[in-house]
Amino acid sequence: MTETTLPRPLLGRLLRGAASRIRGGEGGFPWLAASVLATVLACALFGPWIAPHEAGAISLADAMTPPAWEEGGSSEFLLGTDNLGRDILSRIIAGARVSAVVALYAIVISGLIGAVLGMAAGYFGGVVDALISRLIDIQMSVPSIPLAMLFAAVLPPGEAMVIFIIVLSYWTWYARIVRGEVLSLRERDFIALAKIAGVATPIIFIRHLAPNLLNILLVLATLQFGSVIVFEAGLSFLGLGIQPPQVSWGGMLADGRNFIEVAWWLITIPGIAIMAACLASNLVGDWLRDTFDPVRRQI
């Protein structure tokens, strides 16, 4: 296999080159990714004012109009329409709102729960650690889709339920990684010296542990932003998440699936939206991490 692969340095240089073109240069601000993310957030905030049509407006006369650049497309429906003649662009914009709201809430809540439990487990050790670690093990051994099916059956559907399901399966990532990080941090002398100087435990958490966890939390949160969007889309695709008439990218995929042979845009466009949002959040996260690191900031 060594004959067929590129020599490592060359491969690395090629990959770095490609990455830096997307991110706007090594360490530079990732303009492309940031503008994608900004667009998603702008759609989330101002969606109803930007969208050319009502997301749910049905117009059977315009059904299955292809995107404007295709033959038979119309400038009235830039990205085409679905089988009920609803404007795809307006629905993508409405879906961005759902995706962004769900992802932000889910990440903040699961990040807080995970970080606090992980810090407690890593710092105090002993029984606290054993309890929290077992809880993580139990949670991680339960596959999230069946769990989502269970809660979808029991809880009233909607954004709150989707957020709850995502938090339930994502907090363990933060808890596990934060715990590991704290295990190594607490052996550092500055923690011992803070205790020797009589610094109170909550202040050790806030001043010494939390800032040193910022990097890893930020990277995780941005990675998760993408992953949560995909997960939410998956739930909605399966009909366990956001319910019609509320619009979601996953739901659009599910609706478009039946017409995959005649109307490629019905699944391609929400698919691209999901992928772009996911990729953009990862790239912006990388940049944020580099910027917040005082050692790298000097370089």
Binding site: D189, L193, K195, A197, H208, P211, V295
Partner: protein, 313 residues
Amino acid sequence: MTALLELEDVACHFRVPGGLVRAVDGVSLQVQKGETYALVGESGCGKSTLAKTILRLHPLVAGTIRFDGEDVAAMRGADAKRYRSRVQAVFQDPYSSLNPRLRVRTILAEPLRAHGVARADIAPRVDRVLGLVGLPASSATLYPHEFSGGQRQRIAIARALILEPDLVVLDEPISALDVSIRAQILSLLEKLQQELGLTYLLIAHDLALVEYAADKVAVMYLGEIVETGPVEPLFEAPKHPYTQTLLAAVPHPDPTAPRASADIRGEVASALTPPSGCRFHPRCPSCLPICNQHAPKTVTVAPTHTVACHLHD
């Protein structure tokens, strides 16, 4: 005159899978105000554990630690807080001692804030302590990574001194530094001791450093003190076979000089299962039949020179 720090039969044990590690067992020593008291021994002999027990980072299993006549383990609330301000530490690795995310100003101000020093007094005290360790006041705005190892150790010393402590525990304060920097830090520590009347508890494995810097020394082996005394007579005429072999193992600057053979066998035994009797007996060049039966008592061979060995009973 009572000692500033007095340890009596101090023990520190850890429960690990497989048993109980007796890291420190029955250690007694007295540190007088203003002196430098060195603890020497091989790695794993319990000297750092002892230091951490004195610093209240590890719980005391048995015995008593008295600081200025007060029982340290019994201190609660305000007393414990006062002890925290009177006993400070400098550790070996200046890269790990300073939080990389805080500016030097915050690092130095932290002990003051923890002890409720008024906001207005903090900045002048930070400036003063930086001057004391020979760093410009402008250092306060920088991050730790902008300093060299020696400068970082100066910051660590400044932080230890900002609460104006009586006792400073120096845990291998120069062994992580470049050789060229060591002398500087050492003379800084000496100067500070004279100016501020500090008492040092110096943890070291480097006998040359101990001989140069310490007034008194305690030699530890496997959690116990085998010999204590003033540095000069003890280095001149060590009584315990372990101290003898330790000193004989120090490289001599003259390569042609005849070498006293370092007649030590084997490895340090495990603190999980310390040897019976004298803990040093399996490695001792002059082991007696009694040595694996009974632990030797500590006897005084000269004023303030004690040794725990059956050869001197």
